[in-house]
């Protein structure tokens, strides 16, 4: 084991997959320079400009091009850097990338490509650079969506995503980039569609995604002092969602809090709350609590951004509520 930062884990995964398979290549603005988040730092020096390709500012063209290239024998990775820019390329993502395998059955072995983008706020990036829009894609049939919360998952999920023959949106979180975490020395992958319990507990289950996982772990420490033993489950893959371990956990704890940074209304939390309630109604001692951002754009000033984005404090309060104390 070694400890590396989350952004370094991303780059390691990319480097190993570029090394392993010559059909893998990376397209994006400033991927040669390494991107503003250092996600591709050092790759062009190692793999050259034929495989680490700087593009014009044409996200829609690039994503569509990557889809076409995936059909014709390549395994492209598109680095969009900022998730908010999916808004300029929803058509290739949603009407083409997501649907081709189904619309054209039996014609392709899949549409193997990975769309990378950073989601989330907490870096003062303002309303158009801080959104968490994973629910849009989870709601769109034909796309796998992953959100790593640790260096380990960042590396393992990305390697699995590159090897998957389906389109995968790989959403890393801006607030985690410099967070260190343990990663094995050797080769490994984290399978898509498999949740992980990040902390075992018996009193209340917290399902959290991306940066909210660390907020949940902080909350769990706080609550431990108050005698509340929190179990933290990280779905890691948003779609297809691994619901079984969540259900199992709720059957054990009888209480559930779901926490994500995205807007609460029509967010993933609603899906999890509704599904768990449907599948484990008789086990629940209290209604599921959902933590998410209010329906407000994410403002720039730190004092305002903090007021809008949910955090550990909200999780603590929600856990207390469902535990009735």
């Amino acid at each position: 084991m070694k400890s590396i930062r989350y952004h370094k884990a991303i780059t390691e995964a990319l480097a190993e997959e570029l090394e392993r398979d010559s059909r893998v290549l990376i397209l994006g603005e400033d991927v040669g320079m390494g991107t503003a988040f250092a996600s591709t730092r050092g790759l062009v020096e190692r793999f050259g400009t034929d495989r680490i390709i700087d593009t014009p500012i044409s996200e829609s063209g690039i994503v569509g091009l990557a889809v076409g290239a995936a059909l014709n024998g390549l395994r492209p990775i598109v680095e969009l850097t900022i998730m908010d820019f999916v808004t300029v390329c929803m058509d290739p993502l949603v009407n083409h990338m997501a649907k081709l395998q189904y619309m054209f059955p039996g014609q392709h072995q899949g549409v193997p490509l990975v769309i990378m983008a950073s989601c989330g706020g907490r870096v003062g990036a303002g309303p158009q650079h801080s959104q968490s829009l994973e629910a849009w894609f989870a709601h769109t049939p034909g796309i796998k969506v992953v959100m790593p919360s640790t260096s380990y998952d960042a590396k393992g999920l990305l390697k699995a995503a590159v090897r998957d023959n389906n389109p995968v949106m790989y959403l890393y979180h801006k607030g985690l980039l410099r967070a260190p975490g343990e990663v094995p020395e050797g080769e490994y992958t984290v399978p898509l569609g498999v949740a992980e319990t990040k902390r075992a507990g018996k009193d209340v289950t917290v399902v959290a995604t991306a940066e909210m996982v660390s907020q949940a772990l902080t909350a769990a420490q706080d609550l431990e002092k108050a005698g509340i033993d929190v179990e933290v489950v990280d779905p890691r893959t948003i779609y297809p969602l691994d619901i079984e371990p969540i259900i199992a956990s709720v059957k054990k704890t009888s209480r559930l809090v779901v926490a994500h940074e995205a807007v609460r209304f029509c967010g993933l939390g609603a899906e999890i709350a509704a599904t768990v309630t449907e599948m484990a109604f008789d086990y629940l001692d209290a209604p599921v609590k959902r933590i998410g951002a209010p329906s407000v754009p994410i403002p720039f000033a730190p004092s305002l951004e903090n007021a809008v984005l949910p955090g550990a404090r909200d999780i603590v309060q929600a856990c207390r509520e469902v535990c009735g104390c």
Partner: protein
């Protein structure tokens, strides 16, 4: 980029092999007859969805696809059936797809606006205007990257050139010298909106200059002119010299979709359509040049008619897709 002047026929015949002329005539008739019978069927209420007819525009698909190898590619739009037949897609599964049948090339999932046949180099049609252009550009990207020598043709309407996706795709193709030919079929309208209401320019091919690629405007109802211009562009692409924008002026006979009353169109314009019919023009040429006799042409027509009838019989006989199949295959199981 001025319209290409009509060439004298002596000048032309020399550079087109007789077997190509034969293929082009056969294809023109195939596209025409498939289309006429599909329209008939639609008007009798027997087809689901909408139908966008290619009647009158056939010379473009045929003149361009004459240059393509089996492993080259085409991508298209809502008005795609002509392109796909000319690229070699089998008429039966194509027609079955239009009918939404089990034996449709996409099992009835896509219909006219969303079908593909990768085995024949048909990347697919897209129901989103200009939505297929970036995909086609990506197929060309992979061809260049993998050095497969494949050339891609992306067909589009003139109105599609007002979409951002057109701009981005052509710029990418140019900057990376991709082996692709953008064939813009200028039929003067996007649904009811005439070109002059949608852009201030005359020849759409001037847009090529924005990307540093060659552009040319030709008479798209003259199959020989199309064949000649496309030949230059395909050769350029094969040599690795990059993309071309080829604008082919043509006429949309039946309106945007079949059943469109075209009230927005002047009457004389509709009459002009028929006068530019590419098939009699080509027939006259073939006879005048004595490439074929009238009897030979009739024989081709009869052969095509049998082929078309067989395709319709195949498609009609095919059952509706099994509803249980509807939920399968969103993802592929495979992993590396």
């Amino acid at each position: 980029m001025a319209k290409t002047e009509p060439q004298s026929s002596e000048d032309l015949q020399s550079d087109v092999a007789t077997e190509t002329l034969d293929w082009m005539f056969r294809m023109l008739v195939l596209l025409r007859r498939m289309e006429e019978r599909t329209v008939e069927m639609f008007l009798s209420g027997k087809l689901p969805g909408w139908l966008h007819s290619y009647l009158g525009q056939e010379a473009i698909a045929v003149g361009v696809c004459a240059h393509l190898n089996e492993d080259d590619f085409v991508a298209s739009t809502h008005r795609c059936r002509g392109h796909f037949l000319a690229k070699g897609m089998a008429p039966g599964p194509l027609m079955a797809e239009v009918m939404g049948k089990r034996d449709g090339i996409c099992g009835g999932r896509g219909g006219e606006m969303h079908m593909a046949d990768w085995s024949k180099g048909v990347i697919g049609s897209s129901g989103v205007v200009a939505g297929g252009l970036s995909l086609a550009t990506g197929v060309a990207f992979a061809s260049r990257y993998r050095k497969t020598g494949q050339v891609v043709v992306a067909f589009l309407g003139e109105s599609a050139t007002n979409q951002g996706a057109f701009h981005e795709s052509l710029n990418l193709a140019a900057v990376w010298d991709l082996p692709i030919l953008y064939v813009c079929e200028n039929n003067g309208y996007g649904v009811s909106v005439p070109q002059r209401k949608a852009m201030k320019i005359g020849d759409v091919s001037v847009r090529a200059a924005s990307y540093g690629m060659p552009g040319e405007t030709i008479d798209g109802d003259d199959v020989i002119a199309v064949h000649r211009a496309a030949g230059r562009a395909v050769a350029r692409a094969r040599r690795g010299e990059g993309p071309t924008l080829l604008e082919c002026c043509t006429h949309r006979w039946l309106g945007h979709f079949v059943g469109d009353p075209q009230a927005y169109r002047p009457k004389d314009e509709l009459e002009a359509c028929k006068r530019s019919d590419p098939i009699p023009r080509f027939e006259d040429y073939l006879l005048m040049e004595k490439v074929f006799t009238p009897a030979e042409l009739e024989k081709v027509k009869a052969e095509v008619e049998r082929q078309v009838t067989a395709a319709f019989e195949f498609a009609t006989a095919s059952p509706a897709p099994d509803p249980a199949d509807a939920l399968r295959g969103v993802f592929t199981e495979g992993t590396e």
